[in-house]
Amino acid sequence: MKKFINDPDDVVREALAGMAAAHPELRVDLDEQIIVRADAPRRGKVGLVSGGGSGHEPLHGGFVGLGMLDAACPGEIFTSPVPDQILAATRAVDGGAGVVHIVKNYTGDVMNFELAAEDAETTVESVLVDDDVAVDGSTWTAGRRGTGATLLVEKIAGALAEEGAPLAAVAAVARDVNERSASFAIALTSGTTPAAGKPGFDLPEDEIEVGVGIHGEPGRAREKLRPARDLAARIVEPILAAKPLEPGSQVIVLVNGLGGTPLLELYVMFNDISRLLADAGVRVVRSLVGNYVTSLDMAGISLTVCRVDDELLRLWDAPVRTPGLRWGA
């Protein structure tokens, strides 16, 4: 394994120190391991906190700032944060109007956020993100995973919170965005965690993992590598099957790299994906192509499709100023 690190145990802390140095406009608390908006807490504003294991950058720390998160608490790599961090973040952003926890649906994340919410001194609304339709949502599993839609939930709920909406409304729009979203991912290679020092799984030169998550875990099935247009169909189909879209539906599309995929290939895939969506009568009104919700250096791609109405679109377009996502400000 070759990585730009000093010690596998120090990666998260040192990266956080790097973020502090690179983004003086944020407040990074190295003791509490949280990243906070410089102007938090804002009196009367609902606070937005998210977090999860590290290794998904720019999610979540890169999404702290105006119009998005008020704070993020990064856990160790692929390990949810601990309640203390979450509590510290909750306190740091509590402006008296309550705090929304945006929690990706993983057993560890759910439990740690739950423990923190129990101890919080303010009203906390927890919003679960579970958009990954590769996992069947039945009681046979821990439920669908939270993946790419997290970015959309954080952006849109962040915009509404920025406007001064009350706790219930911010939580509601976050849940609504999650409900309207579906994601599916394919990996060409596994990523390598600094601690393990070797790829999470090995894949032959002509095979891919289909239906992977963002933690280096194998997917639902191993299949043969195929041309981009076939892989695009392999991704689009389960998404449209899980959350059917009426012809004419407006969607925001996120074509997301899992960390090791060149942007050039993401655009090749976007080309095929957007054609398939057009064939299905779906109108892509906004799109984002890049590495946003990653799995370290995994070569792979995820697609998130979120059906939006004009109000959600307005919130999507609202100004955002974070290290990882920025427009209008």
């Binding site: 294991g53 160790e76 949810s80 309640p83 057993t107 439990m111 069947d136 280096g216 639902r220």
Partner: protein, 204 residues
Amino acid sequence: MDADLARAWVAAVATSVTEHAAELTDLDAAIGDGDHGVNLRRGFDAVVVALAGFEADTAGAVLTKTGTTLVSKVGGASGPLYGSLFRALGKSLPGEVDAVAFGDGLRAGLDAIVRLGKAAPGDKTMVDALTPAVDAFAAAAPAGFAAAARAASAAAAEGATATTPLQARKGRASYLGERSAGHQDPGATSTALVFAALAAVADA
């Protein structure tokens, strides 16, 4: 169990977890995200540090502190789960702890884990090792602490092994569906280590 034995137990778990960290991580890489060994090592290292500066007269206080530290240092699924186990166990222990009281405490720990994680036996989680261990401890408690610990350790190891053919229904491994079968559950494996450590210190 007194405070010293509790400390010895926790120290033995810490040593064992460090020794087996790579193995636990490999098991987790196969059906999870490859961090279980790292998580527990980080947690028990922190526990060792925390206990070193911690004055306590009772096993209960030591184990409660252990649980609290795990919750605040581990993260992931295993942090809250093991943290709750030790916290509930510690809190339930009276001043004087005999085998029966300890058995009751273990059951309280199991209950806490199930309350939090909602796993049933057969879901391919640590509960599959913990449940038979708790049962075996209670059953053997009349024979004394050391005997009960030995029985629990054997039962936990057996429970861990028995997770191999199962399809996971909780935790990350459940995402794999049928592909989760054929691998031993990392959390059940570490639970077996926890009871092996208990048996070892109880015997000493």
